[in-house]
């Protein structure tokens, strides 16, 4: 129950409307008990007496009650509609907010579909439950109880019969509840898995297509949706037991009332009229009892949905400002941009294996440090520490001597501009994608950034220039083009610190060279950390750090390292180039020259 109770504050904020909804639900359902009484009165009274004048009042009553019922029905739905529709999107925005500020490491541990299914399917389940489930769950037992009380007043034995009937009902509920809850949990989790699989099959479509593995993926998906089918069928089977019991029990109770009642008439402790009244009332009670089955199933699904919702809301935010929150736009102080890695350790939360170990680095303001290392040596992790996408697990990263964990997260991210290995563009215009790095800049600045990253030419050729929609919902660009736009976003607005993770891997050497030089020329004051695979990049850096298994194993200028570090030489391909050149006719040239 707890996950549902946690929605109380939302309920309380609209409690007035909600109580009105409950009252109208009760009214609409309760009226059903009254109408048979009046029609009975009409038949027995005015019609039997053939008294037309005595007819008008009760007929007016029937009409008024009929209209009242229709109005109650209409009012209940009309009132609840905007409230629950708003709740659904409020809850979604909370989920979204929580996730937007959840650290990348935690994001990575969630399947994307599990987040999506919570935000969509679970919340629509909750909306339906709050719109219909709760009002009926509250009023239905009330009607059953009122009915039982009336029966008891008519004749205590009849009340007793209803109570006896409650025993097998409760027993069934107990058996049913646990199993149904398990099935419901599995079902909703599977919805998440389905969403994941669908998303992956579309995002990985090129790979599936190029290996001709679409049938394989379809088979895999079939298995999963077959699994879902089985769970849903299991739910239907549980439903079938429960619902048929709930159909059977009240009718058996009615039969018992007739039998016991007749015996009572013979024994003359009751009258035929009482028996008829009791049967009529039990008839009205049948509908709510039958409905209990549906309501309980709905409640259990809503409970699962709520539990799944709170699992996300309860995610701990581990990278925050000092006060445990994350301010969107904290004040940004003035910094020189001196960057230090001070005895930094890093391991992911779910493993003890250190990705970075006792790492020390120092970059002076305006200097460029290239990070070089083999695949898996921890370069990307190192880069992610600077904008606090991850926080160190030991030591500290410092900007101008201040531990960045003491600064507001978004102040750090304001100081630090990043370009990722996999360029991420959003579904919006080129201009907006680029200007995100420095909101509020004008077109000139955007063009300048595009020029630095050698993207100006192709952007000019795009159908609508800067206003061309790109990203998933827009024009598809080549890998190199996307990289250059993402890089332009990083360099716009003269960032204090620039972190570039292999930003030009999909660009030809010539262009790369132009970009590198432009960067140095136009951003002389930006402290730059650049992950590089190519000698040309590290040759331009003020210093190069060689990373191996999470440690800095060599530090120096490109030329120094070529002399002193065999690993660096290997990483830069020095040895093999010499060997490879043998077959070719032209000689080898280098920018450095130190290697020779």
């Amino acid at each position: 129950m707890r996950p549902l109770l946690r929605f109380w504050p939302d309920l309380r904020s609209r409690i007035g409307v909600y109580i009105a909804v409950l009252a109208l639900t009760l009214l609409a359902n309760g009226i059903q008990l009254v109408i048979p009484l009046i029609t009975g009165h009409i038949i027995d009274g005015p019609i039997a007496d053939r008294d037309l004048s005595g007819l008008w009042l009760p007929v007016l009553g029937v009409l008024i009650i009929g209209i009242a019922e229709a109005v109650a029905l209409w009012g209940r739905r009309l009132l609840v509609a905007p409230v629950v529709a708003q709740w659904e999107i409020t809850w979604r925005s909370r989920l979204f907010e929580r996730l937007q500020y959840t650290s990348v490491a935690i994001h990575d541990s969630w399947e994307s579909g599990q987040l999506l299914s919570r935000a969509i399917n679970d919340l629509s389940q909750l909306r339906r439950f709050f719109a219909f489930g709760i009002p009926f769950l509250v009023t239905t037992p009330l009607i059953i109880i009122i009915g039982t009380i009336i029966l008891t007043f008519l004749q205590p034995v009849f009340g007793l019969i209803m109570l006896i009937m409650a025993v097998p009902t409760i027993a069934t509920v107990t058996v049913f509840e646990k199993r149904y809850r398990e099935a419901s949990r599995r079902s909703q989790d599977t919805v998440g898995e389905i969403a994941t699989e669908v998303e992956e099959s579309i995002q990985g479509i090129r790979i599936l297509k190029s290996f001709g593995r679409s049938p394989w993926a379809a088979q895999r998906f079939s298995r999963l949706s077959g699994q879902f089918q089985n769970i849903e069928v299991r739910k239907a089977k549980l439903d079938s037991w429960f619902w048929s019991v709930l159909i059977l029990l009240p009718t058996l109770a009615q039969a018992a009332i007739v039998a016991v009642g007749t015996w009572g008439v013979v024994q003359s402790w009751t009258t035929i009229g009482t028996v008829v009244a009791a049967v009529t009332i039990s008839m009205v009670m049948r509908m709510p009892i039958e409905m209990l089955g549906f309501l309980l199933a709905d409640a259990l699904m809503a409970l699962t949905a709520a539990a799944r919702y709170w699992e996300v809301i309860d995610i701990r935010h581990d990278i925050t400002d000092a006060d445990g929150r994350i301010a969107d736009a904290p004040d940004v102080g003035r910094y020189k941009g001196e960057l230090d890695f001070d005895d930094v350790d890093f391991h992911f939360a779910d493993t003890d294996r250190e990705t970075l170990k006792s790492l020390n680095l120092h970059v002076d303001p305006g200097q460029t440090l290239a990070i070089v290392g083999a695949t898996g040596s921890g370069k990307t992790t190192l880069a992610s520490l600077v904008p606090r996408l991850q926080d160190v697990t030991g030591g500290s990263v410092r900007v101008d001597g201040t531990d960045i964990r003491e600064l507001p997260v978004n102040e750090v991210r304001n100081l630090v501009s990043v370009s990722f290995e996999d360029p991420i563009l959003f579904s919006t215009s080129v201009a907006e994608n680029v200007s995100m790095g420095a909101p509020g800049v004008d077109d000139d600045a955007i063009w300048q950034a595009l020029e630095i990253t050698a993207a100006k030419d192709f952007v000019q050729r795009l159908p609508e220039g800067l206003d061309t929609q790109v990203g998933e919902q827009g024009l598809s660009l080549s890998g190199g083009q996307r990289q250059r736009l993402a890089l332009a976003r990083a360099v716009i607005g003269q960032p204090r610190i620039l972190v570039l993770d292999d930003p030009l891997s999909a660009v030809d050497v010539d262009t790369e060279d132009r970009v590198q030089r432009a960067l140095r020329e136009i951003l002389p004051d930006s402290t730059t950390l650049i992950i590089a695979h190519r000698p040309s990049t590290s040759a331009l850096a003020d210093a190069v750090a060689v990373l191996d298994e999470g440690r800095v194993v060599a530090l120096g200028t490109h030329d120094e390292l070529l002399e002193s570090s065999p690993l660096y030489r290997e990483l830069m391909g020095a040895a093999a180039v010499t060997a490879g050149t043998a077959g070719h006719t032209i000689g080898k040239r280098t920018t450095g020259g130190g290697a020779q």
Binding site: A217, Q229, K237, D328, M572, T590
Partner: protein, 619 residues
């Protein structure tokens, strides 16, 4: 009700006859279950029958049984009560059966629909996927599917039941008294108009909910997928704003739909209740005028209530139907899109391999699975021209022949058309003009399975699917045994990294400790190629994220396996040229140089320049 104008994307635009297509889709889904549907119909009829006659037994017990039992003859009472209990048991059994069967059948239908949609989306050409967003297609399989499932599970049966129940009661009413029955049926005239107006307004509202929730999903998927950039660039407030805008549209559509239900349900009930009043008045008048019996009127009034009872269920069902059909329309629109790259109706086989160029038994690491390696195949592009739709030519008309076993390096600046050429050879796109053939067979005549086992492309995008590392490598060949997976991983230098992972090859890539760097992910892509064992390999920037030693290792492995195969390699790092037999230089969609590497390097053309720049970039 004023509808906000929806700015629908071109892909989201629904064709005008979509409602018809959605109905056809539903019908085609239900048709295979016709026998079951008929059986369910029998159950519906029986259930409705018991619903109508059950109360007759109890009324009989009360009217006749009880007085007679009091008079000392329990026979009729016992009979009525027994009949009532039996009918109750029958109802319960029928409910039991119908709940199960409906559940099972509905799930079968949903399963079919899911699979059909999934398969179709996979069949759609790359062009469609590049125009469309993953979130939108995900919404078809999640939110829209939920809507359809709700309708099938909860409404279809109940609708039929409600209709039959009303029909039986209607018959009873006619039998009881024709004029009174006519008054009841008069009530259907306003109901008809109410339903008609609700139909169009609700359909509109539900269409809007489907369209707007899809946009919410698109935004959600994009934000979560790009969370690194969202956080690093502090986009949260902006993203929040967009979500709010999209969600507000959804909320308004939903509110309108729910309010529409309120009006519909309210009016329906009002008509029912007013008819009831009219019946009492008319009935009373008929009784008083002696045209009708009192008992008949009493029965009439009792039944009338039950007659309008199922209307609520019908209203509910009607709305679930509207929602589901709006969802089905969206799905029908996807299913209705034909891929531009179509499978041949009568595929031609590739000719058998001519020579048994069973290469490279020498290299131990990779030799095993390549032992029966087929030779390469020739590739011909004849009079090929390519443009996206009616756009400008990306590749102006050209001819190109790549003989079997040749390794071609494709070189040029970004945007020169290299990737487009690769996509033509792998038939991700069909040429706008001309033909692409391998071993003289037009790609358009090749069965997809054969094409894909013969031609494989690796791009710089190294996507991992949920599952273990071994599963991911097996995408190259799902039938590969553990040994082969291991051999492939070893060949490309991935093995040492995998051994470091908590569960080795069985490590779940999306879970605990499964993080792979982008370089390692690329090695996974390469391992896939090793397992796939194709005749033609196309590598599009496939080594871009690798450090130089890893790249070299991959190339060394490639050099061995590519022996005898045809290969097209696109790379900015010209180290690939070392294993190439031939270099093609592209510029603005044209092949401007074509020749052996040594020849071009020593020349004075573009390639010589590029090669020099590349050389200069090295140590």
């Amino acid at each position: 009700m004023s509808l906000p104008r929806l700015d629908e994307d071109a892909v989201e635009q629904l064709p005008p006859d979509i409602a018809k297509k959605a109905r056809a889709l539903l019908l085609s889904l239900v048709r295979p279950h016709l026998a079951m549907a008929i059986f369910l119909l029998v159950i519906v009829v029986l259930t409705a029958l018991f619903l109508v006659i059950g109360p007759i037994f109890i009324a009989d017990a009360l009217d006749k049984g009880v007085p007679q039992a009091v008079d000392g003859d329990p026979g009729p009472l016992i009979w009525s009560v027994t009949a009532f209990v039996l009918s109750a048991i029958a109802s319960a059994v029928l409910a039991f059966a119908s709940t199960r069967l409906v559940g099972i059948t509905a799930q079968k239908v949903v399963y079919q629909l899911r699979s059909r949609l999934f398969t179709h989306i996979q069949r759609l050409d790359l062009g469609y996927h590049e125009r469309s967003t993953s979130g939108r297609l995900v919404s078809r399989q999640t939110s829209d599917m939920e809507s359809v499932q709700q309708f099938l599970t909860y409404s279809l049966f109940d609708t039929a039941l409600a209709l039959f129940e009303m029909a039986f009661i209607a018959v009873t009413l006619i039998v009881l008294d024709v004029p009174l029955a006519l008054v009841v049926f008069l009530g259907f005239i306003p109901l008809f108009f109410i339903t008609k107006s609700a139909h169009s307004s609700q359909r509109n509202a539900y269409r809007r909910t489907r369209t707007s929730i899809a946009k919410v999903i698109v935004h959600f998927v994009e934000t979560m997928g790009g969370i690194r950039a969202v956080q690093a660039y502090r986009r949260q407030p902006d993203r929040r704003g967009t979500l709010k805008d999209e969600d507000t549209l959804y909320r308004d559509a939903n509110t309108d739909a729910l309010r529409g239900v309120a009006w519909f349900a309210g009016w329906t009930r009002l008509v029912g209740n007013v008819t009831q009043t009219v019946i009492i008045i008319v009935g009373a008048w008929l009784v008083i005028e002696d045209w009708t019996q009192i008992g008949v009127l009493a029965a009439f009034i009792l039944y009338l209530r039950r007659f309008y009872g199922p209307l609520d269920e019908l209203v509910q069902a009607f709305n679930l139907y509207q929602s589901a059909s709006a969802a089905l329309e969206k799905m029908a629109a996807v299913l209705d899109t034909d891929p531009e790259v179509v499978a041949p109706t009568s595929p031609k086989p590739l000719p058998a391999h001519t020579s048994g160029q069973s290469a490279n038994a020498s290299d131990a690491t990779s030799a095993r699975e390549w032992a029966q390696a087929p030779s390469g195949r020739s590739i011909d592009l004849t009079h090929v021209r390519f443009s996206y739709g009616d756009g400008p030519d990306v590749l102006p008309r050209f001819d190109l022949r790549i003989p079997a076993g040749e390794i071609v390096a494709l070189v040029g600046a970004t945007g020169a058309g290299k990737s487009t050429l690769a996509k033509l050879v792998t038939r991700f796109y069909d040429p706008s003009e001309g033909r692409v053939t391998i071993d003289e067979v037009d790609l358009r005549d090749l069965d997809d399975a054969q094409l894909r086992s013969s031609v494989v492309m690796v791009t710089q995008e190294s996507f991992l699917f949920a599952g273990t590392i071994a599963d991911n490598i097996r995408i190259g060949n799902p039938d590969a045994g553990d040994e082969e997976v291991l051999a492939a991983a070893t060949a490309v230098g991935l093995d040492p990294y995998i051994r470091n992972l908590p569960d080795g090859y069985e490590t779940d890539v999306k879970k605990r400790g499964g993080r792979l760097s982008s370089g390692q992910r690329q090695l996974v892509s390469f391992a896939r190629v090793f397992l796939a064992n194709p005749d033609i390999v196309v590598l599009d920037e496939a080594t871009a994220h690798l450090d130089i030693p890893s790249e070299r290792l991959v190339q060394k492995a490639l050099a061995t396996v590519l022996e005898g195969r045809t290969a097209i390699i696109i790379a900015h790092r010209l180290s690939t040229v070392e294993i190439a037999d031939r270099v093609l230089v592209m510029d603005s969609g044209r092949i401007i140089e074509d020749g052996a590497p040594d020849e071009l390097v020593s020349g004075a053309g573009k390639f010589a320049q590029l090669h020099k720049a590349w050389r200069d970039s090295l140590v």
